[in-house]
């Protein structure tokens, strides 16, 4: 089916989210929509899916204009959408979720009665029925078979990894016979392996004649999967490019200026040990042994990058270091034992913390930007005197921070949740870097951010390093590790399996992250392999 958007315009108050956007997608094409956060990609797709009504413009399917006023209309027009945040019921099984809204029902019928001369034929009860679970299961199995979407129809959604939940969403769309599939930032929540699986599935779907709109701000993915790339900036289409276009060109098209994809930094000048972790053991949410005997040091003036596929104990490591999760082992900050200190005392001792889940742990969405900027210093001068908050100082300081860190917000009283992801992260970064920190504990600092914001955050981290802070960077993005780390520690199944210099090849690093790093020059004398935790090399 050929999809065409003509002159789509959508205004929210004074903001023009979509400005006369034209888009033609031939059948069987994977089209990438590339743009920064807030560029208007999602709004455009919400227009297409009937979640938002456009102020101007029209949608054509196979050259026929269609009106789409609700997701129901969109589904009828065979447009399917997989949202950034999944719309699944966690306690339902896959089959139940997939059939939700289009439940196939076996009509309940009354038994026919024949008694003497009386004869009552079987009657179908109007709106009552039995859920046809068997049919639902069969549908799921058939679709997963056809497109290689491996999913167990009887698994409960809450027990499934994110990547599989996404497949459930895709199956949901396919079951409604979607011929245009919109994937909104589908890779934001996936591991590299899951991303590859998704790409394989996308190609299968393409081979089946479906067109796919792939929304992303990640250049590499777009280049890898798309047949054509449409770049959107500030609500306008600024260009269409083939996937062979260079990183630099796409990035500057997207941001509107030339960007540094990799921050320039001087070689590290590490000095004294700031963070000294020995034999740390942490248990996870469900009691699993998540961090197993991890030991490492971070020195002042260096960035130690912890690489690893998400879910190998990095989250638990960070939470344990912040005192958010009980742990066994020794943690020393500048020589002082903080292993049993409260989160508050650790923050006071000079740890800056940028948590992995920005919207959940880093910010209070309903609080103003100003309040978020003092979230962990609210009881210290100048923001408080005694037990009274100093509102004027809070406001003034917030204004200064917003200026300094270039947070794009209408005012410091704006609720943080209304900011774009990049600007939210700038608020967190501004807060944590505005006090004296000896150690910066930074987890997935640029997840979901656009190129411009990534550049900004990376520069700030290097600035902190150069000012003498020790930086512990946890990231599952290899690019980020390579861009920032002065040393790389690889985490696999709760252990640090190797320390490497940043000159390590991507293949070797990938192998180590997958648990295949047997030949470890540092620990090979002892006994290689992931069973033995790597020992920190002594540094002079």
């Amino acid at each position: 089916m050929k999809l065409e958007l003509r002159g789509i315009t959508k205004r929210f108050g004074g903001l023009v989210a979509n400005d006369h956007i034209d888009l033609v997608i031939p059948p069987g094409e994977i089209r990438a929509l590339l743009g920064e956060n807030g560029a208007g990609k999602t709004t455009l797709m919400n227009v297409l899916y009937g979640l938002v009504q456009p102020d101007e413009g029209e949608i054509l399917l196979d050259d026929e204009p269609v009106t789409i006023n609700s997701p129901r209309d969109a589904i009828r027009a065979r447009i399917g959408m997989v949202h950034q945040h999944f719309m699944l019921v966690p306690v339902f099984t896959v089959a139940e979720n997939v059939t939700l809204g289009t439940e196939r029902v076996r009509r309940l019928t009354t038994p026919g009665i024949k008694a003497g001369g009386l004869r009552i034929p079987p009657v179908g009860l109007p709106s009552a029925g039995l859920l046809d679970r068997r049919r639902a299961r069969r549908d799921v199995l058939e679709l997963s078979e056809r497109f290689g979407l491996r999913v167990d129809p009887d698994a409960r959604v809450e027990d499934l990894p994110v990547g599989v939940q996404q497949r459930v969403e895709i199956i949901k769309a396919l079951l409604r016979d979607a011929s245009v599939l919109v994937l909104d930032e589908p890779t934001a929540v996936l591991t590299p392996g899951e991303t590859e699986d998704l790409f394989r599935i996308m190609r299968e779907l393409q081979a089946g004649g479906r067109s796919i709109i792939f929304i992303s701000h990640k250049l590499k993915e777009v280049q890898a999967i798309a047949d054509n790339i449409t770049v959107i900036r500030r609500g306008k289409v600024v260009g269409e490019r083939p996937p062979s276009t260079s990183d630099g060109e796409l990035a500057s098209l997207m941001v509107g200026r030339s960007v540094q994809l990799r921050v320039s930094k001087e070689p590290a000048m590490p000095s004294g040990v700031v963070l000294d972790v020995k034999d740390l053991n942490v248990h996870g949410e469900r009691g699993e042994h998540s961090v197993r005997g991890v030991s490492f040091q971070v020195r002042s003036g260096e960035i130690l990058g912890v690489a690893g596929v998400q879910g190998n104990g990095q989250t638990e490591l960070c939470e344990a270091l912040m005192g958010l999760r009980p742990s066994a082992g020794s943690v020393r900050l500048d020589g002082a034992d903080i292993g049993h200190a409260s989160t508050r005392d650790r923050l006071r001792a000079g740890i800056g913390y940028i948590p992995e889940d920005r919207s959940e742990d880093g910010l209070v969405g309903d609080f103003s930007v100003a309040d978020n900027l003092i979230l962990d210093v609210y009881d210290r001068p100048p923001y408080a005197s005694g037990i009274a908050l100093n509102l004027a100082a809070i406001r003034d300081s917030a204004a200064a921070r917003v200026e300094e860190y270039d947070v794009r917000t209408t005012s410091v009283q704006t609720p943080a949740r209304t900011l774009s992801g990049g600007n939210q992260q700038k608020v967190v970064v501004a807060r944590e870097m505005s006090r004296d920190v000896k150690l910066l504990l930074v987890s997935q600092p640029t997840r979901g951010l656009d190129v411009g914001s990534i550049e900004f955050v990376h520069k700030r981290l290097v600035t902190q390093r150069d000012a003498g802070a020790a930086v512990l960077l946890v990231s599952s993005e290899l690019d980020e590790i390579y861009a920032l780390a002065d040393r790389i520690a690889v985490m696999y199944e709760g252990q640090i399996v190797a320390f490497r210099p940043p000159s390590i090849s991507e293949q070797e690093l990938g192998l180590l992250m997958a648990g295949g790093g047997a030949a470890d020059p540092i620990v090979s004398g002892q006994r290689g392999g992931p069973e033995t935790p790597a020992q920190e090399p002594e540094q002079s």
Partner: protein, 442 residues
Amino acid sequence: MSDQHEADPAAAPAATATATGAGDGTPAPERPHGRLPLTGSAIIQAVTEGHTAVITILAVFVALVIGAILIVASDPVVLRAWDSFGYAPGTALSATWNSVAAAYSALFEGSIFNPSTVAAAFHGGSIAAIFFPLSLTAFEATPLILTGLSVAVCFRAGMFNIGAAGQWIGGALVATWLGYAVNLPIVLHAVVCIIGAFIGGAAIGWIVGEVKARTGAHEVILTIMLNYIMYNLLSFLLSSQNLMQAPGQTNQVAPNIASSATLPHVGGPPPQVGVGFLIAIAAAAATAWLLSRSTLGFQFRTVGASPSAARSAGISVERVWVLAFLIAGGLAGLSATTIVQGQTAPLTFNSYGTYGFDGITVALLGRARPWGVVMAGLLFGALDAGGTVMEAATGVPADVTNVIEALIVLFVAAPPLIRLLFRLRASGGTGPQAVAPKGWSG
């Protein structure tokens, strides 16, 4: 930890309600990947953020309209007139109008202002009598404002305080005992009783906070169960001559408190404002300051808005639970003492009335904001005060005002309903957020 995943069944419909309310039916709750925001905070957020002054006013209006229907239904004259609607429609309509107008006039005259008192004042009557209805309203509002504040403090810290009734009894017991068993000079005695009531209520609140902090038990269960314990404790203490039963009594009645412990009235004869009302206003001012201007209030609000972000920022969530319930209990205790020390009747088993639960509705209507609670308390106080007058003057049962109160809260708690009734645009239609549901821009 545990509260992140607790599936509060009651929260689900509220979460849906906010989502549909914000986005005209679009399924778009802000949802961090994988986790579902099915906490009680969804309800609390819907209450504290969800509605505007316009909605409140419209809710009051709709409730009064429905109340009018009840008034009509309770009036046999009007019902008979409607029977003959076919050939005398004018009679039916005018009877309806007369009945409703008479009832609501009486309600207004009994709670706010009675024009005949002005006329009387011109003919040598008391000028002070003009303010008599208002003083009745303030009197009725006093305990409601305080229990409303109690519930509101917990709301702001992300918790439901269903236990204001139990905390009320805690405060009442201590104040009563101090009032009759201790001899102190006149002003000091009253002050000691007030402080004692605060401590008595706070102690009961503290139990809830402490148990929740130590074991993770849900505060709704704890407070409901503690309410039963307190009802029965009160009954037990008031039934035993050796304990708190008034000497020579067989009923569940405590001794009268000493006159040195009673709260005086300010402003001379009949239209007077009890010191209890001043305590309620002072408590509202203190709570407002605590919540918006103090570091402790900042902790309360942070925990209320996002426990996980609070933890990451080094705020002890457990400590906030304990302190919020401590303060909430104290406020409920103060509510009790405005009755114990403010009235001439001694404490009985029925003294706690419905103050604790009315506090929930007052806090909901006041959007858990201290001054909002004061306004809501006054509104309810006015309905209570006027209802009595209405019943006396027109025979319409005062229960109608209770229905009106309940309807107001119902409509306020369901803003989409009011928007639907009046076809309002979501949140007044200002800025992109009003139109675009959360999490969908960009």
